[in-house]
Symmetry: C2
Subunit: 397 residues, 2 copies
Amino acid sequence: MALIPSERFERMENPAAREIFKMLELPGVISLAGGFPADDSLPARDLEILAGEVLAKDGPAVLQYGPVAGYGPLLENVSDWLQRRKKITAAPEEILITSGSQQALDLLGKLCLEEGDLVAVEEPTYLTALQTFNSYRVRLLPIPCDGEGMLVGVLEKTLAVCRPKPKFVYTVASFQNPTGVTLNAKRREELLGLAEKHGLHIIEDDAYGDLCYEGEAPPAIKSMDRNGRVVYLGSFSKTISPGLRVGYLAADREARAKAAVVKQVLDVHTSGLSQRIVCEFLGRGRFERHLESIRTGYLKKRDAMLSALNRHLSGLAKWTRPRGGFFVWVQVTGPFDSGAALPEAIRRGVAYVPGEAFFTRQGGRDSLRLSFSGSDPARIERGIEILGGLIRDYERC
Amino acid sequence: MALIPSERFERMENPAAREIFKMLELPGVISLAGGFPADDSLPARDLEILAGEVLAKDGPAVLQYGPVAGYGPLLENVSDWLQRRKKITAAPEEILITSGSQQALDLLGKLCLEEGDLVAVEEPTYLTALQTFNSYRVRLLPIPCDGEGMLVGVLEKTLAVCRPKPKFVYTVASFQNPTGVTLNAKRREELLGLAEKHGLHIIEDDAYGDLCYEGEAPPAIKSMDRNGRVVYLGSFSKTISPGLRVGYLAADREARAKAAVVKQVLDVHTSGLSQRIVCEFLGRGRFERHLESIRTGYLKKRDAMLSALNRHLSGLAKWTRPRGGFFVWVQVTGPFDSGAALPEAIRRGVAYVPGEAFFTRQGGRDSLRLSFSGSDPARIERGIEILGGLIRDYERC
């Protein structure tokens, strides 16, 4: 007899997205769909050596139960990193290690969200964040974006009339998933001002923040936060390894103490071996050198995608020009339905994620997300060429 | 400005338990409190070698994103293990890897529980399970236990009059936490029969099932399940390593497919490195030899605790005689308040967990949980001697 799923589950599930993701796994297709880091960007040999070292030196402690909030020296290394590279002041007691930053989103939901609460999100935004918030049966308040990120002015007008106020504003402020755009400095200040004024909290999901290929990212919103209005989410999944499942949140001391209560219920603590490996990688200064080297590789891929788009989609679509991260957002100017066209795209040999997946309700059918992180420049060129042909044929129909 | 916790959080939190667990961390105290496996039971050197091997052979794949439901060969090895050792038939597509079996509990809550649902639990039961269920704002239905486990007859009478029926019956059927008792074979059949009759599901949490020191454990309830009434939870935390955070659930195909949707929202997937290490440990037949060797060690510790109890607590208390697992449950016959006495116990040099922590509301003040897993026989003897003195002094007051 089947388990009867909760109403929460029905809201969280996205069968359309599941069907899409099944299609994307087909072999022989150039996938510009997944948000995976490049295989050759993972420091496999270094991590292998570090795994051996931490187990040889401290095996039983690594393998035993550990502190709920995270391995002490890792908390210190993350605290140092945040101060040095992001000008974020967060003591080790204000940081909590999560099993990937995805878990931090679920944790914050469990800690704070009541059914019916409002959560403001960029539209489009990270698909699994939408599922996570929906699992807490909140109402989502989509805020539109342009090439400089969330239209904070629209949020301001909405907040002026909206009762009760949203509990969270969720933003992937730098090199956003799915658009690749970055919230500009002025809007970051304005957003923090709105949080102060209306008593909101901001969830700043900075999963891609370390992957800036051009210029400098604007300061993290958390670095300007004087009153504990921002919960900052960081991840090592895009830069060191997704498979180790190590992310973190930085909040104030009180919030972190409460978060630890939730963390224990979620999974007791994050893998001790994963934490130690990441800790050593950070502590020995390898992370900064590693970031330098992978940025070069990703910059080439981004450039390959932008020139391929110029060659094959000029006059057919507009697209974003990300300064970091993994994604380009393409909006087709003529008639196009990215969801309906996907099976044919895959038949021709290229996969993307249809725009609809990133919208709270409707929208995004003229758009699609492309990822340049996982393919080499030649495959990117070929994939975009196929896509251009597809859009052109679609227009002719 | 502090984050405002949800009502869900307030129900989940157990400040008394938190205060207790702070006390238990004091140095220089013989801890009979924690439910940790013995440091020297962890196969550190084997796991170090396996970690090196899987990373050397397949580094980028281990470190990349992996399947949400778990690493394929691990699912196969778990399926084999369940069939061979537990007579549980579960195909790889019916198994889902979780970040420790604690996560499986939270996952099932998220998948199935609505606010106000009834969940039947053994009383006393696993503390964090109570917190997990409370986080879904359910009503808990405590079923009393004796030396043969849950009084299934009491459950039967309750079910006859109870509307609506509970959604789950949660049982740690073998070597229970906190009592160490085992649900006998007859009651297992009766419990499954009740689930069939009343349309309930059983969550069989078998975290300690592989740690049988005397005779054989009764068959897993899941091994008798013909109609998908049982979700079985397994764990490698007590036998291979808690720090790797690898557990699993076995359910029917449909439930496992839904569970995978929830798992993605919870933390995308469990650490790929942890999964590969456990997979190799299982696949090369090391697990069975390893279990043999650690059972011998735990049996000595259990015997040390039972003889120390005989020496120092005879006439003062009754206690259970576990045939496996980590725990002995002590019920003091004279006047005693295990929570109130804990600070004095710690001052004298021994720590335990007061019985109250394992009860849904009130109860257990005359009782306490002792763990023999983490201490050596000499310290167990000394700890119980101190405890005997304490109870005697308490009676005199």
